[in-house]
Symmetry: C2
Amino acid sequence: MTGDEAAPGSVRPGGRTARVREAVLRVAGDLLAERGFAHLDLAEVAAAAAVGKTTVYRRWRNPTGLVTDLLAEMAEQSLPRADTGSLLGDLTANARLVAATLADPRQGKLFQAVIAAATCDEAAATALRRFYDVRLTEWSPCVEQAVERGEAPAGTDARAVLSAVSAPLYYRLLASGDPIDDDAATTAARAAVNAVTAGTFVESEH
Amino acid sequence: MTGDEAAPGSVRPGGRTARVREAVLRVAGDLLAERGFAHLDLAEVAAAAAVGKTTVYRRWRNPTGLVTDLLAEMAEQSLPRADTGSLLGDLTANARLVAATLADPRQGKLFQAVIAAATCDEAAATALRRFYDVRLTEWSPCVEQAVERGEAPAGTDARAVLSAVSAPLYYRLLASGDPIDDDAATTAARAAVNAVTAGTFVESEH
């Protein structure tokens, strides 16, 4: 980013490594959003990030390495779960967060590129699953607390509920092309709560 | 397919054209499922389908042309809507059809490839939207009849209901990686009916 590879010791190694990572992943995200996975080139990323090509190849190895680390960074930086006191409140907050991300021009394109990469690259697919696992784990307490409050039946599957909130928004992004607006977000949250209340997400093992 | 380009007049032109299309699209579908959109090559398709290269280039022009026509063929051949007499029965049939398609190794990979193509190619995206429009139009009467039978409130948005059935299955295919099994299909249908019953899919314009 600052091209300070020639001045080692001017900052702590950890700080420099973190700054290099930030610069490289921001450029990688920009290029992915702009042109997709098929055109992600490490030499171009290195040049645009003003980081040595050798550093980029040694640390990320290939386009999949960049996508994997980008998804890890997105998981690290993603916002904590909501805690509004009601299941509908929490799931609406979750749906709005997902909708805002997918409707954002850069982020929406970035998710499309990463999901496209995952369809033809096993390592990218694993990184994508891991990203969703982190998000699902972060938000699961919303469902667990709803069970404690008596808003949801015992044995309600948190992963199924949170997937039900996200799914219609991803379907709009990837399949139907319908708008990802606040109406779509609130409907997704309400529909999930309807199904929770009816006991549809109670795990069959329970 | 039969390499009969040198024997014009041996079959009706319409018949031959249809056979050439079938052979080319079958090979295109196989290659898409196997290796994805980025590696779809018209010359290779022509050779594997035993159809003249000139014919393939003249008729389909580029990989997007093949994907567009393949989606048109899939829409033509897709099964008619169910008519079980209940909304839950119809939506469960719909969910099972979608799940069987996405869980099928060739078809699942084909949908992933086409959706990946749509993320980076505007014409492929338009063809994909049109495919879903055809499916949604075919199945909409299930919801309209549910309204007539009093199973769904007046003003229930058929497109929203059918999208809600498909969405969790596509989310498993493209994002979470969770299994696309009969449990997933029946849960998707039941959750959609729960939300219909609660009036969540009544269009806000009504």
